[in-house]
Symmetry: C2
Subunit: 145 residues, 2 copies
């Protein structure tokens, strides 16, 4: 958190209150929020905060490699991850939540270790797992008794 702010400064990024708010909120988040989720939350404190600024700040952070935008979407909306590093994601089919799957790469995932497959140069891998999260699994087993 401190680190990211420091790095932004180093990169000559103007640290406006709005940018700080977006950065802090996303850094603390664990649920891969969408633009409007970020916007709604920040608006409680900064009523004049506009969506356009959320979009532009996320774009900036993405370009600087500080965050990542996922390839899967929550109900058609882009979602963001404060961790730009390589890891996988599980989308829960019951509750729609997206969970980080820390995959201890590349030891467990040979795709990540390979530099080429089928004659293609591989630079990055994003895996999306579809299934049921622990919370929803628990609910299911509780129901059954």
């Amino acid at each position: 958190m401190k680190d990211i702010i420091a790095r932004l400064k180093e990169n000559g990024v103007t640290l406006t209150p709005q940018r700080m708010a977006v950065t802090e909120f996303l850094s603390r988040s664990r649920n891969h929020p969408t633009v409007d989720e970020i916007h709604r939350n920040i608006q409680r404190r900064y009523p004049t905060m506009s969506v356009a600024t959320v979009y532009s700040t996320l774009k900036l952070l993405k370009e600087l490699g500080e965050i990542q935008e996922l390839s899967i979407r929550k109900r058609g909306k882009a979602c963001f991850d404060p961790n730009p590093g390589l890891h996988h994601h599980l989308l829960c089919r019951k509750c729609g939540k997206i969970l980080d799957i820390d995959f201890n790469h590349p030891s467990n995932c040979p795709i990540m270790a390979k530099e080429s497959i089928d004659g293609c140069k591989v630079e990055e891998v994003q895996a999306y797992l579809y299934g049921i999260c622990p919370e929803c699994l628990k609910k299911e087993s509780d129901k059954k008794g």
Copy 2:
């Protein structure tokens, strides 16, 4: 191709010329076409073909498990794969093409073999690789001589 038409019939699907056209075109395709790519191609023969029908037919085929919609998009547009089975995809960063990566699962991909990870039940895995396709690699090396 014959199979899919037969299965549609078995499922009581009305086989209109429009549905046949979409199904045939997608079945023959190798480049994960978008809705408008499918639409433009079919319109050459059926000038009255509407996009709405393309959307509805794709939705139908998807629900019947005959095709799949990818989680990654070409310039913001959904793209479709005539093969509903589990396989991975590589998005070429140079030309934007999406290639199938036949991964001979699950021998090469332990994620596919696992039924649970981090307490999550895993039902399906989609991996998206980002890199350079063989064609673009060749162009690069040709340039360098």
